[in-house]
């Protein structure tokens, strides 16, 4: 079991999202904020583009030698007094975490932000076992109160407005004065800080994700701006790290390379506020820090992506730049994608994790404008990978009949260039003649999906191919 996906009903989700005024207002913040900040900070570092190459190469190298680096990483964690648990599936990962929690009689667990935790539906698993999970990243805390999934991998509550957060806080924080003023975002932040501080100090176990696992030293790395991940892992007796296999990098130096592109691509910061390297439990003489340190390493289908076209997707460092720059994400937000990973990276990753039969709509929800690939810090060819999914969907006959027959019709002409040229010239000439008076069509047969919302312009002059041929002839002269 993983978090329940609504990806199969992407069309309905997207339709609802477009009509949701609150959501549309909140999505304005994505369009305005992230893009400009990233562009500005990238422009300030002359080596930024070369660092993206370096980041890509490091991840490629790590993936090509993943088995060996995982073994060396495990050895180092053990040497430092930590323990590594391997999980093939979400179930195994949840069982490993539950086992650790039960062994210390845990009642409350604080959590740093982790997408893997969402992927394995850890909170539901903990609650079913009578353990209370408390999300501590402000955005994750808000969506936990609402019983929602994150709508963005680094800004989980980006789909909400402050007034919605205010009403959630009033609904849940009933021990506080009902007459208190929460009209300013800073008051909401202060209240969350106060409520969660108590939770940090009393939790039995702290669970964090990991941005990187370093093979050289057996170190897990988390990156946050709030400091919640650090309080999560420093205060309780037990620290559990949950991370997927592809988080491995060879050395501290490699981690530094990747960190130079991570925050810049994600939030447009030169560096996030807190980058924390954790290696094993409390040392002799230490007066704070966890007494036990566990790492749960999750596969969940990733090992089978190696050696395929989708191996490139395993370079992803979860910065969110692809969704920040995606016109489809801007229009419908993250929840429409129906599972844990939204946007272009989700459109590629979700079908591998859930199956193309359930998530086939996602790689189709793309204009192929290429902005995602142009900003990806590890240069994942996201449009190409989405195209792979479309091909597989077609091969497996999952594409709707109308699309298939349309493609077959087009394919018949496209593989016969002379006929194609003849047919398009004839069709465009006819359309041009029919629309010569108004210059546009309010309705066209077989094009209702277009003309329902906008007019179709009447073609003028020759077809593109005819114009191209003419231009070539003239240049050749």
């Amino acid at each position: 079991m993983t978090a329940h996906p609504t990806s199969p009903r992407f069309r309905e989700n997207a339709h609802e999202a477009l009509g949701d005024a609150q959501l549309q207002r909140a999505l304005g913040n994505v369009r305005q904020g992230f893009i400009d900040k990233r562009a500005a900070v990238a422009a300030k570092l002359p080596e930024f583009e070369a660092l993206r190459d370096s980041a890509r190469d490091i991840k490629n190298h790590a993936l090509e030698h993943l088995d060996l680096y995982l073994e060396r990483y495990e050895r180092k964690v053990t040497e430092a007094g930590g323990q590594v648990h391997w999980a093939r599936t979400a179930e195994e990962a949840r069982a490993a975490i539950l086992g650790i929690c039960r062994s210390v009689g845990a009642k409350t667990v604080t959590k740093g932000k982790s997408m893997i935790s969402e992927e394995i539906a850890l909170n539901a698993g903990l609650e079913a076992a009578g353990i209370t999970p408390v999300e501590t990243d402000l955005g994750e805390y808000i969506i936990q109160l609402r019983g929602e999934m994150p709508s963005h991998i680094i800004a989980p509550a980006v789909h909400l407005n402050a007034t919605q957060v205010e009403s959630d806080f009033r609904r849940v924080h009933t021990h506080l004065d009902p007459a208190r003023d929460l009209s300013q975002p800073v008051q909401l932040l202060t209240e969350a800080r106060r409520v969660l501080r108590e939770r940090f100090l009393t939790a039995d176990v702290g669970i964090t994700g990991a941005n990187f696992l370093i093979a050289e030293t057996g170190t897990s790395v988390i990156v946050t701006n709030e400091g919640n991940g650090d309080l999560t892992q420093t205060l309780p007796k037990v620290h559990i790290v949950i991370a997927s296999i592809e988080k491995i990098v060879p050395t501290l130096e490699d981690a530094a390379q990747l960190l130079r592109v991570l925050a810049r691509s994600a939030t447009g910061q030169e560096m996030s506020v807190y980058t924390t390297y954790s290696t094993g439990p409390r040392r002799p003489g230490d007066v704070d820090g966890p007494e036990r340190y566990h790492v749960v390493i999750l596969d969940n289908g990733r090992s089978s992506m190696l050696g395929t076209a989708f191996q490139e997707m395993l370079r992803c460092i979860r910065c969110g730049a692809c969704m920040n720059h995606c016109p489809v994400y801007h229009a419908v937000g993250g929840h429409a994608y129906g599972w844990v990973y939204p946007g272009p990276m989700g459109a590629v990753l979700t079908p591998t994790l859930l199956g193309v039969d359930k998530a086939g709509h996602l790689p189709n929800a793309s204009t192929f404008c290429g902005r995602c690939e142009s900003v990806c810090p590890v240069r994942i060819p996201l449009p190409k990978l989405m195209r792979h999914w479309r091909e597989r969907e077609f091969e497996r006959h999952l594409t709707p009949a109308t699309v298939r027959s349309g493609l077959a019709f087009w394919g018949f002409f496209a593989t016969r260039p002379r006929l194609y040229g003849l047919a398009t010239r004839a069709a465009m000439a006819t359309l041009g003649w029919l629309g010569r008076r108004k210059g546009r069509f309010g309705w066209l047969p077989l094009a209702g999906g277009w003309t329902q919302y906008r007019d179709f312009p009447a073609p003028e002059g020759g077809t593109f191919q005819a114009q191209w041929a003419k231009q070539r002839r003239e240049q050749g002269r």
């Binding site: 088995d67 969350a192 701006n225 709030e226 919640n228 924390t276 290696t279």
Partner: protein, 223 residues
């Protein structure tokens, strides 16, 4: 088959390897042994006053504040002045760092407590292992000298760093850390801190003081 063997087995099948190829093992072990720096930005390739200036500019850009004092003996007075300027009580907590212990705290009116924080401290002072000028980042290591709780629980974090421990790039600090702790060995926790705690989770508006310190004040000691 154990989950471990199963996962490693699938990885190897997918990559078309056995895991015993000498060439692959050599490549991996050499890479780990060398830990070669990758592409290091030119920005930090500075020394002396220029390096300090870059560190200050970058730290201030993250909304940290920076003070530079002539020597270690001047730190307590500088911290006292800083707290007075913010109208904060003259009370703070620090670990057992010998460099901090050697400073003349008794010559100020500051009341100094020692040890980890349990969340009741307004101000803490830590001695940083180093600082990185390229992004104005502090590097702090855990231990009884500088307990990690002091970096996160108090509202006001003060960090002392020696000018001689400032580096242009992260890689320089990693090298120093290897010299101090041994190759392949890390302190339990290494904290890179770049400015005060913040969150943009409500309508993408950046607000300071999410869970960690609302304020980070850096005292650079000359020499």
């Amino acid at each position: 088959m154990s989950a471990r063997d199963d996962i490693l087995g699938t990885i190897r099948r997918s990559l078309g390897v056995t895991g015993r190829e000498a060439t692959r093992t050599t490549v991996v072990d050499e890479r780990l042994a060398k830990a070669a720096p990758g592409l290091v930005p030119q920005r930090g390739a500075l020394a002396g006053e220029a390096l300090l200036e870059l560190f200050r500019t970058q730290a201030e850009a993250t909304l940290a504040t920076v003070d530079v004092v002539a020597d270690a003996a001047a730190v307590p007075a500088a911290v006292a002045t800083y707290l007075r300027g913010l109208n904060l009580p003259a009370r703070l907590r620090m670990g057992d760092d010998p460099r901090l212990d050697a400073m003349p705290w008794a010559e100020t009116a500051l009341e100094v407590a020692h040890g980890r924080s349990d969340g009741d401290d307004l101000v803490a002072v830590a001695h940083a292992f180093g600082g990185v000028a390229e992004t104005g980042t502090l590097v702090l290591v855990s231990g009884p000298d500088n307990p990690t709780t002091l970096n996160f629980l108090p509202d006001y974090a003060v960090a002392v760093v020696r000018e001689s421990d400032l580096a242009g790039a992260y890689e320089t600090v990693w090298e120093r850390l290897r010299t101090a702790y041994g190759k392949g060995v890390m302190p339990r926790t290494v904290n890179w801190v770049t400015g005060p705690s913040r969150s943009g989770d409500i309508e993408q508006t950046i607000l300071l003081g999410a869970h960690g310190p609302r304020s980070v004040h850096i005292v650079v000691v000359r020499g």
